[in-house]
Amino acid sequence: MSQIQPLTVDVLEQEALPAELPPLTAPAPKGRLRRAPLPQWVRLLLSNPKSRGGLIVLGAMIVVAVFAPLIATHDPNAFSLIDSRQSPSWNHLFGTTDQGADIFSQVVLGARTSLILGASAALLSTVLATTFGILGAYAGGWIDDVVNFVTNVFLVIPTIPLLVVVSGYLKTRGSLTMILIIGLTLAALEARILRGQALSLRNRDFVQAAKVAGESTPRIIFGEIMPNMVSRIAAGFVLVFYVAILTAAGLEFLGLGDMQHTSWGVTLYWAQVNSTVLQGEWWPFLFPGLALATTVAALVFILAGLDEVSNPRLRVERTHRRAWRSLLLGKGRT
């Protein structure tokens, strides 16, 4: 579940440390937005094997989610006792549930719910975290105090039990509500990371120069600080996306999510509640579980790639590997 959360947070926080990030902090675009074909860090990301692999898998999952209704072979909520508890076959690729619903269709359609839920919560969290994290770090004062306080709350109160309790208080747990509570909870976590990174930027020359030149606070934040944090905000988004997908699926697995829609977590919940494992049925938990694990792994790989791209020490190993490859395959494009 959220167990590797601090691990990746660490990775991101370390990323904030090195003062010089040559490829990432391209000179801040002064004034109007200039249209570049692709930011350099995006190209770097695509050239990194880890993040490229992650992006491909995630992309495939998104394609499945988009065309889910076309790919699904059955009604995911079908109720048919004749078809119930069938192991995988040509008709039911991933087998069927206790109720006789087709698990393949549930997994395919579940991709849609899980990805949308995760992405929306992550988006909400990132917007909040970026605004308050950077604003707090730059402006200080009560905003920073509040950000700090909320951060401290989450140092003491474990996220999952908190979300379980909050979901328990809610009578109806629709998608929107879940996005809201997950997004809000994770925003605190993300704000802490972004705040730290913004703090390290605040005292840089170019920010100080803008300050002396009398630029307004919003202008400095959006014109000077934000452009230099794009890659970090992107990393924060991926991290929160990954935690949000896990959290949403986890809450659904506990029966405390949006149980009305077909999703990976809901399929897993019914597998658990109906004790399918104990009856020797592996398909009701394995396929949705694998779909979840694959998506999560893809996001972790993207994160690892982002980290490698921004961490000079890891990049040395990369050139080393490339040297090997060029030795084996002859001179290629590097």
Partner: protein, 333 residues
């Protein structure tokens, strides 16, 4: 003085050390040959990056990858250290050669009492009870001028000078035949520096160990060593007694070094220094490695210039006990 050695304690025979980096190999020490008699003090001087500390690590065989001994032999009382088995080597270290590190501030384990760091070392070499080991540590503390009760202190509770003394006490503990001092006093202020070195000199006279004294501070070397080797870009370029070097430096680099510190006696001259910077060791200049900075490397003398830029000068004796590696000295003695 005692330069006439009856037997040799340590012999470096054509020692080379390389750093095998991912995409290139850097030769930090290149074919250094030196020998040391028992009880002698040999100074090694050079700029940072000239390979002197690497050489010190090579003597104790504690080179850390990517550094590795690339050639030559380190002979201690005739035994080749590189041929020793790991455990044999482990017992050899500190028992016969100890090392006072460059950064004495950081060589003590911050989470261990300094006394326990003594005990650790003594127990690695002898069968001793902890109480006895601590007793001996206390004795050594007194020998180097620290209150014996400080064995219970943690490194952060000691001042820089005291830590340095602790490290020296540790280096003396097993009565080794040779102590290597690798810039032992760089982090200390000048007064403490001299104080500690004078104490060391006294201890040396009492205990009779040999010393290899590595530093970039020539004035200290001239004062404390019998012979001095000047290193440049991984090579020894001049070797002579301190007195000879002070009065009659021959290699242009040594001349520059000698000029770059104010004389201890006599009128203050203008400090000249050496223009330019040490070479990139991944791609050292061909021929004499000093040629890009050498004031005597002049294309007008085409023949000499060709030698200077193509041929590696060899260390040769120009007077008894005075060795120089320089084409210029060779051709215009």
């Amino acid at each position: 003085m005692s330069a006439v050695a009856t037997r040799t304690l340590l012999e470096l025979d054509d020692v080379s050390v390389e750093y095998a980096l991912r995409d290139r190999v850097v030769r930090a020490v290149d074919g250094v040959s030196l020998s040391l008699a028992p009880g002698e003090t040999l100074g090694i001087a050079g700029e940072s990056g000239s390979g002197k500390s690497t050489l010190a690590n090579a003597i104790l065989q504690i080179l850390k990858p990517p550094a590795q001994l690339a050639g030559g032999r380190v002979l201690f009382e005739g035994r080749d250290l590189a041929a020793m088995k790991p455990d044999e080597l482990r017992r050899f270290r500190w028992r016969h050669v100890s090392l006072v590190f460059q950064s004495a501030m950081d060589v003590l384990n911050p989470v261990m009492r300094v006394g326990d760091q003594f005990v650790d070392m003594l127990k690695a070499h002898e069968k001793v009870k902890k109480a006895d080991a601590l007793q001996r540590a206390g004795d050594l503390f007194e020998l180097v001028g620290i209150d014996r009760n400080r064995v219970r202190a943690y490194p952060h509770q000691l001042s820089g000078g005291m830590r340095q003394r602790v490290v020296i006490a540790m280096a003396l503990a097993l009565r080794p035949e040779l102590i290597v001092l690798d810039e032992p006093t760089t982090a200390l202020d000048v007064v403490v520096q001299r104080e500690i070195l004078q104490e060391l000199q006294q201890l040396k006279d009492e205990l009779g160990f040999a010393v290899i004294f590595i530093t970039h501070d020539l004035s200290l070397l001239v004062e404390f060593s019998e012979r001095i080797a000047i290193m440049y870009a991984g090579e020894v370029i001049e070797l002579a007694s301190g007195e000879t070097l002070f009065r009659d430096p021959r290699h242009p680099y040594t001349v520059g070094l000698m000029r770059s510190f104010p004389p201890l006696t006599g009128p203050l001259e203008r400090i000249a220094g050496i223009p330019g910077s040490p070479p990139d060791m991944a791609a050292p200049p061909s021929g004499c490695r000093f040629n890009p900075r050498c004031p005597h490397c002049d294309p007008t003398d085409a023949r000499l210039y060709a030698r200077q830029t193509d041929e590696r000068p060899r260390l040769r004796e120009i007077a008894p006990g005075h060795l120089v590696a320089c084409h210029l000295v060779e051709e215009r003695p």
